[in-house]
Symmetry: D2
Subunit: 400 residues, 4 copies
């Protein structure tokens, strides 16, 4: 379904989209409070914001907040994550220019990103650097690039891409993810609980009494280990940093080398963010029937490709559970093909985490709209006063 | 799809059924060990067992165990819980006589139950008392009833129905649920973790920091309260028994009267097993936006009918989330229409709980097959030696 | 220092005794509330209560409560536990007839017990059965025995002694310790925390990260295991009951047989209440440098005598820490000579536990004073209504 | 008891000192392993180390380690913390030059510090900066100062004093406390558990169910809050940093402003390290009977002086418990006069914390002995390789 102003799957899905967005809204008190202020102050009056972000319910609540502050919006999503009903609702009831559908190809995605820029935004909210890439690589956006007042970039990965590939910057870009607030709230508490959720709903097993090996004890690993213990699992933590291992030991977790601990685990979770933490040899030392999953960066963390190569036989037993039979008959149960277990088949981050993250986005965009001249034209962290204001708003909303 | 020997949805679904059963099997080590012994000893040789139980993957593993011990099987399920693919697998690969499909009506269910008895079993495994009811109420089963060597009944509710409605007993019936093993394993640990799972997958909210009110602190309530706390919730416990409230207080939970505690909760869970614990007036004292769910007996525990009557408006926002708007605009989010949150939309009990429960069933049926003459012809609890043997088997399987 | 009305160490110590009692009073809100009611209702008017109980600060608060209710008091203590300053305060400021001093011999203790009976009480509160023994064995108390309106007995041991040795009863005796309230409050929560306290103050070691083996998982063992885990210890639980071991496993504790677990422990605590749980052979399997202590019944639980026999050398390193060197040079550190670690060198039960226990005593004595004719003349448990009233009073005082 | 080589209380106390030191040694496996290596490598051969540190059992084990590495030692302690028996043992059995006794005055302490310098050390281990102060302020030590190969300083306070008051440095000084290892091990885990120990042994109260307010949620505050919760307390955390409060909230603690939370607490612990956190007005808002203590820096954190001024009456009820009666009769129970509750009347840090801290000291001194020329002549943090080596040694010793 297309018009000059949108390209989506089916506008008839709007009602279901409205329900989804309303549930998210009910659990996003930080944006709710922000909306009230923005409605009065109209900081985005005269601005069009060009956005690349998952077109789903929580994003819908955010767009509503920005529009209450005077903004007009053009948005595209990411391949595979668009909720077509939410997209329909954004178009029909909110008048957003949406260019996204669930099963778009990567080529279509880049076309949609171009359409967002074609809408001539004055501010950009990027996710993974696609909009920045287009702005810098295509001649037709040269003028737009110069006229832009500023941008945000959600991810650290996107920020690295920006720093590595873009020759020069003509506007300031605020990197949202490099904040303590996001790191603690999302990594320790958000990921911790959603990994536990992901394992339970994928497997239907009891965590009480299970021997679980958590590899990696950074913010994410701490969250995962604590929450698993909170559900009665007997948790062993492995980390290659001695100080970190010592901390886990004093916290009451079993610890040791990966080699010493791997054979005793019923369940293994990797949370390091590094490649090849589990090697083919490690799989040979695991118990028959072990469940293996990843909550770090991507499937290469547990060497998924090498594991499939080792397997004599692969069977899908339940959605997101594969049984891999190794030489000699030992069975490994791999969850979600080694992809992030908290995202696969789940709803990803708890709503509250996105409420805080999108509040950071909102205040960063407000800063760009009102005082972009105080910022340098390059990628930079969220200004401290914005991070503090967001944290205070979260406290206000959650604690009262 | 029907034959004299089965009546199921579609035998073509067998492969998917095999996958499901294999996943369950991988996590049922107690039955796995039992199967080895039964295969040698053949206690069920010459027996046909007539069964009424949910036709799903875990049951499939159980039937395989019984058949390894020499049994032939005829089975029907419960309306709404049959997995049609599992049913197909049982028929095609295992030769079970299955009479069940997912969307059967209650009348069809009772017909299917008759078909199980028509198969002339020598032992019965009942669930809710339906087979017992037919045996006692229909003339055509009078002879069968006299020739039966014994029966089991899974549920306490079924056991009560037996005791209340059956005039006399011509065979012994062992009540599975009245055991300490099941009560502790299923109620405290199984329900505890599956309630937490149910809330998370239904709502996608963060439990860390949330004020949760748990009403009822019996075995189930203890499990629910502990697991919620283990995920970072701030838990308040209400129980009308002073000694129980004192225990919760010393355990470090906030406690108080329902009236004093109800207004401060973000989430409310009822786990009492009693009707009308939440009354219409209680809903008036709740916070705007509160999430309410039930993990006790049934929806009357939180007066679901009365709540719907109070509501000015009811909207379904997500599967199993209804937004009820009361007079004055306050919103209550009711999960699963007040039905058991750990069953609704979830997979019910963790596999391990059923492994233990079905091991109790197996040993009870073995006792009936080999020494039914040592039991009285009436409903009775599981013999102590069987309960101890099952517990030891669970330890062997889980701890090693 | 003696008079007809008292026999104590030194009345000059009263001021220090007053300070102690006042600190206890500040933390005994249940007795405080009871005192108010008793002062109005005067249920003990005309009664003299003959008491055998530790003469220490918490007892002092209790006597004050009874006297506010109209009672006069004669009391003796236990050898070794009398606080001489508290005794002095009771005599000087409260007019209690006290017959007790810290270093009295057992023979002197029995003389003091006689003096309490010589004071011609109408009600008795006994501890260990000494007063009951004198009443039944000495001719001179035959008349008193017949005139008594009733008695209480604090301990289960004392109750067993009564039941075994006394030929017949001429008055009702209420056994205080056989109540759920005391069992849960004292055993799970009181013992749990005081064992942890005892280990820490005796050894000055860090519990975080330590491998601790708790032998026995009854109410006391549950409390000990939970509290040690709460301080960061890695706890293994051993219990010979399979169902209990299963519960500990699902609760997230490591479990196994004593033989499998004993070699890995840094610290071992026995909490079974049975003799000979640790045998000489077990000590041979322990780590060099292990710390061993007992929180069960008495030192024979860990075979203290046999252990001393095995030792080549015994050195006292700190008060309540002995280093025993076994054949081959292995060192065992035994705390408090195997006596109860929560009592040795500590203050015993937290004040709150005694507040509840003495409230039970008070209401039981009130029942004997006002309606002893409703009770049978034999040992019996605390009437249910009294237990419930005490529990409610505890809730009122602790939770509000 | 004096000689040219020592000045202590009574050499006859040596045996008791040996027992104390041996208990500490049994629990200091890091130093034990270090001693073996140093005995072989003799890095301190030819060195005399001049030390100012508490003369107590753990220090004794450390001196033994240094001497095994070839060092000779002259030591003084701190006023009030010297164990006279340990001092005697160090002189008689180990040949240490000790100048310290428990009740020395501050003037005597400074004289003793001079005696240590008079012994002409080549390395210095300071505590609070006293030795540094003498070296820089007294002419007679000018030459010694120039010949010194290096020094360590234990405390952050001492380090600040050095930086602020010393004009110039002629040797490198390594500041021990500014290490992540010490901060985490000592502050979060050491202080956490010893505060809990201090409160329990001072008061004899039950922590289960108590409402405890922890003010400050840095490393120390986190440890205190976690350990109190681990013992069943209902913990509320107050911190003035929004991000820190948010973290405590998500961790499941109650949080809020000090004003909102202060009235509901049974027990209040300050752990901020800042002055005047509790102001006179705060005491007016507290409950009658509240227990107040400090685990931060010093008594001014809870405005002890101002509190005494407010009190109509002050009574000492138990050692380290004072009852202060305010206007209107409200009672505040102040522990340890507002001094650090984990030190007052306790044994201070768990032995393991000092084992790690003194290993850091040892390796730092070894670095100064072997390669002081690689360091700049000024105060500096512990070199990273030393911190890592110490952490690895701790893991080796504690985890294996």
């Amino acid at each position: 379904m297309t018009s000059g102003k949108h390209k989506i799957k089916d506008i008839g899905l709007s009602d279901a989209g409205k329900d989804r967005v309303d549930w998210a809204r009910a659990n996003m008190p930080i944006l709710r409070a922000l909306k009230e202020r923005l409605a009065k102050e109209q900081p985005f009056k005269g601005h069009k914001i060009g956005i690349c972000l998952h077109v789903e319910a929580k994003t819908g609540v955010w767009l509503d907040t920005l529009m209450a502050g005077g903004a007009r919006i053009a948005i595209t999503g990411s391949p595979g994550t668009t909720q077509d009903d939410t997209a329909a609702y954004l178009v029909r009831d909110m008048g957003v220019e949406v260019f996204a559908w669930r099963d778009e190809t990567f080529a279509e995605h880049m076309e949609n990103a171009e359409r967002v820029l074609d809408a001539r935004p004055s501010l950009i909210a990027d996710n993974g650097g696609d909009l920045h890439y287009l702005l810098s690589s295509q001649d037709k956006f040269r003028e737009l690039s110069r006229s832009l007042q500023g941008a945000t970039e959600e991810t650290t990965t996107g920020a690295n891409r920006l720093r590595e590939t873009l020759p020069s910057f003509t506007f300031p870009t605020i990197i949202i993810n490099d904040t303590m607030a996001k790191r603690i709230v999302e990594n320790r508490y958000g990921v911790g609980i959603s990994v536990v959720d992901g394992i339970m709903r994928t497997t239907n097993i009891m965590l009480g009494g299970k021997a679980v090996l958590v590899i990696g004890y950074g913010y994410c690993g701490q969250g995962v280990a604590q929450r698993l213990r909170g559900l009665g699992a007997r948790v062993t933590v492995v980390d290659h940093e001695p100080m970190v291992q010592l901390e886990a030991h004093l916290e009451g977790f079993n610890t040791g080398t990966l080699e010493a601990c791997i054979g005793g685990a019923d369940i293994i979770v990797t949370v390091t963010g590094r490649d090849g933490v589990l090697q083919p040899d490690h799989y040979k030392q695991m118990r028959d029937g072990v469940i293996v999953c990843n909550a770090g960066q991507n499937a290469s963390e547990l060497s998924a490709i090498e594991l499939y190569d080792m397997a004599q036989d692969v069977r899908i037993l339940r959605p997101d559970i594969e049984q891999l039979t190794l030489d000699g008959g030992k069975k490994i149960f791999l969850l979600a093909r080694g992809n992030l277990i908290n995202l696969a088949g789940g709803d990803g981050n708890p709503i509250e985490v996105m409420d805080l993250g999108l509040a950071l986005q909102t205040l960063s965009l407000e800063c760009l709209a009102l005082r972009s001249e105080t910022l340098e034209c390059k990628p930079q962290t969220v200004p401290q006063d914005i991070e503090r204001a967001t944290t205070r708003a979260a406290l206000e909303a959650w604690v009262g």
